[in-house]
């Protein structure tokens, strides 16, 4: 394994901002996880990041993340020891010894939470994840897309209940069974997904996720320091398109099938003054359109950011009157294959349309 790089305390804020943006509305700035990481660093625990390519093919990696409702964690504060129990119970069940940790999704709280476990166990964390963003369901993963099973999966609740889904008919069933367990135990569970090998990660994970998050956050922090425009800074440093600059004039939410569904309307305050962008969401932002004309859709990353601070705005926190910028970041290539689109494309979110990459619409969006 190549020498891991240690994350410095002053990089954590950038990481938190970046994972918030990659949450595409499903999560926001993971403040509580950031506090956990800062505390671990004060206790001299190390957060070490390593590139996926430096893994040995037969190395075993723990894929870690919380599942459940973000709001619950605002009261039952996220605790690294819960994730740690899921990891240990998987090691026992599968009879393996993990040599590294990987995040189950880089977007939102789960971009940071696995680092706390890595720090507790003094294991490195892999600069990769199976989503490159946030998704609402467990089976929406590049490993599942690559045909790997989503079992065994270990789950741990806030008490002393450790659970294993030993085998499932398919990944969808792991999600359905896991979701039941999750609700019964208070709507947040720590999970350790099936052990992944170094080879599988090299072939099927999305590489560079942590680096991307830090880069995004650092752009914002640099701009703030220089009193510049954080949105412009992101566009200059990332392959991102500014779709819209405007003000939230309507938010409509409802619960359907256990998810927050709805849409928000944003009226332009830039040179397209008066025109209205509609963004649909299903926990995350899923589709952006002018009337019937679709401009961006899943799996591309539709990110709504506070116009002044550059901080991510979530589907649960977006409110009337907010000044926001809507950015679209290209989805990783692994999410855009024919197989991938079946799992994470517009049809998987109930839209009867074919995926068209945002880049195909760019000329219509008057890149600013």
């Amino acid at each position: 394994m190549m020498e891991p790089r240690e994350i410095k305390p002053d990089e954590l804020e950038a990481l938190a901002l970046g994972t918030g943006i990659l949450g595409t509305g499903g999560g926001t700035h993971p403040y509580l996880e950031l506090l956990n990481l800062k505390k671990l660093q004060r206790e001299k625990r190390r957060i070490r990041v390593v590139a996926p390519d430096s893994l040995k093919d037969d190395a075993l990696v723990a894929e870690i993340g919380f599942m459940g409702a973000p709001l619950i964690s605002k009261e039952r504060l996220p605790d690294p020891s819960m994730l740690s129990r899921a990891l240990v119970s998987m090691e026992r069940f599968a009879g393996v010894r993990f040599s590294a940790v990987m995040s189950s999704e880089i977007g939102g709280e789960n971009g940071l939470a696995p680092m706390t476990v890595a720090a507790l166990h003094d294991l490195p964390i892999i600069d990769a994840d199976p989503r490159g963003r946030a998704f609402p369901e467990m089976q929406m993963s590049s490993f599942v897309i690559a045909g790997l099973p989503l079992y065994p999966t270990a789950l741990a609740d806030v008490r002393k209940n450790d659970m294993i889904i030993a085998k499932s008919q398919n990944a969808g069933w792991t999600e359905r069974i896991g979701r039941k367990l999750c609700v019964e135990t208070g709507s947040v569970l720590a999970t350790c997904r099936p052990p992944r090998t170094g080879r599988q990660i090299k072939d099927s994970a999305i590489h560079g996720s942590i680096s991307r998050a830090i880069r995004l956050g650092a752009s914002i922090l640099d701009a703030r320091r220089e009193h510049g425009d954080p949105i412009e800074a992101i566009i200059n440093n990332e392959s991102a398109t500014l779709l819209f600059d405007g003000k939230v004039v309507d938010v409509e939410r409802r619960t359907a099938g256990g998810f927050v569904r709805g849409s928000t309307k944003i009226v332009a305050t830039d040179k397209r003054e008066g025109s209205t962008l509609t963004i649909d969401f299903q926990n995350e932002f899923s589709l952006a359109r002018f009337g019937d004309e679709v401009l961006a859709m899943v799996p591309d990353l539709i990110c709504v950011l506070d116009r002044a601070t550059g901080e991510a705005v979530g589907t649960e926190t977006i409110r009337y009157g907010m000044r926001v910028a809507v950015l679209v970041l290209d989805a990783p290539a692994a999410l855009k294959t024919v197989e991938a689109l079946r799992v994470v494309g517009p049809k998987a979110f109930g839209y009867d349309m074919k995926y068209r990459p945002h880049s195909g619409y760019k000329e219509k969006c008057e890149v600013v």
Binding site: N36, R179, G186, S187
Partner: protein, 510 residues
């Protein structure tokens, strides 16, 4: 109804007498170190000025910066014992985890984390550790701490454990002052706990301050009801407010904006409140300040209070202006303006001196600034003008021209014309807009709860009823209560159509 509104600021104490919609008189006096004598001065002067008999008054409403300043300046704070009912959840992030260390060193007493707390749906996380609570209570008594903050997981939804814990605590340590987190509102354990700790830590100062206000009223022969203003533009009976000093944080800017709305008869406008040191720019919507979206920090501590969205500029009547190179602020002579500025016989050049030299206002001795270089004065006026214009533009949420209401003692610094502004309005009594805002404050009630298994309509109605009952308890006349905010939020990954509803009502004091 006849009432007095008072705003006790860092520099000035302003007071106004209002009868219905009529302003009978207003005054401005320097704030004194000793609270009582400053308020006595203000009361006496304003009664005299307005020719009001003390016994004819119905209410006195006071807005104060005492509590905000105590936290900001780290003084007059009590040490607090923190009790959190949460285990086995929430163990890794203990109370005070995100406090600035200098403040935590002053406020942090013993910390007790106990088994208990609730799930979002009201089920217990684990059985409440009553024995542990009793042990904690005994140990608090023997340690001699006078203030205790109790926070339980999901207590805004069900407060029973905090109430039980307080009961045990008072059985063992009857003299302590207790703040229970559910009385301060919202979901968000850490932020709610922070507010609870701050509140507990201010209990002695709150008692002392409200006693001083009552004493000042008695000294002036006023027997009217005393209210304190809160950050949302409403008031609480002083007996209640004394238990919740944190609710008065940032009430000053809110009062100014509410006062500006009242004086101008406008409900949608930008307000520029210029004092001695800063100009606070905010946006009025339906007569209330637009609130900041983000989490609000008080003295570096993260809380969930709703605060007006303000943009503060370092420009005020006492702001220092230098010539070579031309520089306006950020330093100010503040409350020493009457001694240090040129027109008042001092040696410093302040924004006030520039305004007098430019003929914007007649103050002090204009002859003392008559020989100021014309170009310098013009440049300085232009610099202030463009700073204020830029600040106004930042707060604008629409492209159309909006009116600006200029209030505060330094309102003369606001230019008559600003790009993107339909008109700049200077109102009579604008220099005491904050006291006017205090005098016209209403009472409110709020509810923030998760509902399950009932329809959306039922949940909205239930939340509204709870908020209305709270407003009535706070002194509102039921016939005047109106809904100002009703927001519902379906919750992801939760069963049974879970819905979080937030309702807020306001009403006039009955």
């Amino acid at each position: 109804m006849k009432r007095i509104g008072i705003d006790v600021g860092g520099t000035n104490t302003d007071a106004v007498v209002i009868d219905g919609d009529q302003i009978l008189g207003s005054i401005k006096t320097p704030t004194t170190q000793d609270v009582t004598s400053g308020v006595v001065n203000a009361l006496r002067q304003v009664l005299k000025e307005s020719k009001t008999a003390p016994e004819s008054l119905d209410a006195v409403m006071i807005g104060t910066t005492h509590f905000t300043n105590a936290v900001a300046q780290r003084r007059d704070l009590s040490k607090v014992a923190a009790i959190r009912i949460c285990l086995p959840a929430s163990a890794s992030l203990e109370p005070f985890i995100d406090w600035p260390s200098d403040l935590a060193d002053i406020v942090r007493g013993d910390i007790y984390m106990l088994q208990g707390g609730h799930e979002f749906d009201g089920r217990p996380i684990a059985e409440f550790d009553e024995d542990g609570m009793r042990e904690a209570a005994r140990s608090i008594r023997s340690s001699g701490l006078s203030a205790v903050a109790i926070t339980s997981v999901f207590s805004p939804l069900t407060s029973e454990l905090e109430e039980r814990a307080a009961q045990i605590l008072l059985e063992e340590a009857p003299d302590v002052s207790v703040t229970q987190s559910h009385t301060l509102g919202r979901i968000g354990l850490l932020e709610r706990e922070n507010a609870t700790l701050l509140n507990a830590s201010l209990h002695q100062l709150a008692k002392k301050t409200t006693a001083a206000f009552t004493e000042a009223m008695e000294a002036c022969g006023i027997s009217a009801t005393l209210y304190l203003t809160q950050n949302d533009g409403t008031v609480m009976l002083s007996a209640v407010a004394q238990k919740f000093p944190v609710f008065s944080f940032a009430s000053g800017p809110t009062n100014s904006m509410r006062g500006a709305a009242f004086l101008s008869h406008l409900s949608d406008a930008i307000v520029v409140d210029t004092g001695g040191t800063t100009a606070d720019i905010g946006m009025l919507r339906n007569g209330f300040p637009r609130e900041a979206n983000s989490v609000v920090e008080i003295g570096g501590v993260r809380t969930l209070f709703r605060m007006p969205d303000l943009f503060s500029l370092a420009i005020g009547g006492g702001t220092l202006v230098t010539r070579d190179p031309l520089k306006v602020g950020p330093h100010s002579v503040g409350y020493e303006l009457p001694q240090r500025s040129t027109v008042f016989g001092g040696n410093e050049v302040t924004a006030t001196d520039i305004a007098v030299a430019a003929g914007l206002i007649d103050l002090g001795d204009p002859a003392r600034v008559a020989d100021f270089d014309k170009q310098f004065v013009a440049d300085a006026v232009e610099a202030m003008r463009s700073m204020i214009a830029d600040g106004v533009d930042r707060m604008k949420t629409e492209a159309a021209d909006v009116p600006v209401i200029a209030v505060g003692g330094g309102a003369f610094l606001v230019p008559r014309e600003i790009p993107g502004v339909s008109e700049v309005i200077h109102v009579r009594h604008g220099e005491v807009a904050n006291a006017v805002g205090a005098a016209i404050a209403q009472v409110s009630g709020e509810c923030d709860q998760i509902f399950q298994g009932i329809s959306r309509e039922e949940a909205l109605a239930e939340a509204r009823r709870t908020a209305e009952n709270r407003a009535k308890d706070a002194g509102a006349d039921p016939s005047t209560i109106e809904l100002v905010e009703l927001e519902d939020l379906p919750l992801a990954y939760m069963p049974g159509n879970s819905l979080r509803v937030r309702a807020r009502v306001v009403g006039s004091i009955g």
